[in-house]
Symmetry: C2
Subunit: 209 residues, 2 copies
């Protein structure tokens, strides 16, 4: 086999990523992806047989970004509060660089829950057994030590995820609701959330004396 020119494949993936993430699987057009990559539409099918196959490739890579290494923060010697501060800061910063990502992932997963979730169920399995169990244990310990109030692990994690992710998915609503479509005001608001979220969570769970 000839030395394969990777740049075409890469160009396609890049273009597909952009179009899929912005328009969704249903809304994306193969022609638009081809245009974006500045190649012939047939080449898409030459490298990736079908739209679904191409989408799968993109989606898998996107998921790796969405469920990031940041989770490894949970597996460290830091205190729970430090972990929460570090995670929320880093994760919100990550999403800031990929603002369409939350909406895309949420939408596609709710459209094809069965098929796609299976694609990356491996991720979840690993996650659950490693970082997650450690964090759960730490939380239970801090509850027993009276450092944080009693709260269910699931609820706390979902609360943190909600506070980080939702504002990105709901950006158009928030823009109208609070900032009258003023981008600067929104930027200001979004920046503050990098510490606001941890602040809000820690205030909620920390036991004062």
């Amino acid at each position: 086999m000839k030395q394969k020119d990777k740049s075409t494949e890469a160009k396609i993936l890049e273009a597909a990523n952009k179009v899929f993430v912005e328009k969704g699987l249903d809304g994306a057009r193969m022609q638009e992806i081809a245009d974006e990559a500045k190649i012939n539409k047939s080449l898409l099918h030459y490298y990736y047989r079908s739209k679904d196959k191409l989408f799968s490739e993109v989606f898998q890579k996107v998921i790796k970004t969405f469920l990031p290494d940041t989770v490894k923060i949970f597996d460290s010697e830091k205190s729970l509060f430090e972990k929460i501060e570090t995670f929320t800061l880093e994760y919100i910063t990550l999403l800031e660089k990929n603002p369409f990502l939350p909406m895309f992932v949420l939408h596609e997963l709710s459209q094809k829950p069965i098929k796609i979730t299976d694609t990356f169920s491996g991720f979840f399995d690993n996650l659950k057994q490693n970082q997650f169990e450690i964090l759960k244990f730490q939380i239970e310990k801090e509850i027993q030590n009276g450092i944080i109030r009693p709260i269910e692990f699931d609820q706390l994690i979902v609360n943190i995820m909600s506070l980080c992710i939702f504002p990105f998915a709901a950006k158009p609503i928030l823009m109208k609701l609070f900032f009258g479509d003023n981008k600067n005001q929104y930027k200001n608001f979004a920046d503050k959330r990098k510490i606001e979220v941890a602040d809000f969570v820690i205030h909620s769970i920390k036991v004062k004396n």
Copy 2:
């Protein structure tokens, strides 16, 4: 004009609502809506000229559900904490009855931010001037009185919205992450959130002494 048979129009709207909310504008098919309403596809175009027109009708009604009367709770004599408890309970209960609603609204608004948001900007305007200002004033007063800690109005409201809405949009992820696709476990988790959210928020902002 003959006495118009409203039942056909109503059947169409009902069917369109179901299909659009589940599949989105892009994913929905006029034929599927016709089938769902048990009528001929041509009738769709007879009553609502185009797919976009039909979608508009549906979307407007959906928005009225999504931004509910529940907000009127904010305009009452209750204490801030009572308002938070009442709102989160009622709103989560509402979403429980319309679980696809959050995902649908968020997705469509992020697809066509300009066009659609304009459609119902009236809602926002009214909201902002009435209930919202009252609530903002109350919060600022409670901060001054030392009942709750200092926190920005915007951030607090977005936090509450996040905690209520996100879990519905992210249901497929949460199912995998925490409950191994076990519906009973998820149901149990979701039920608890009706009080968990208010609990979490109030713990975060209440000043202890």
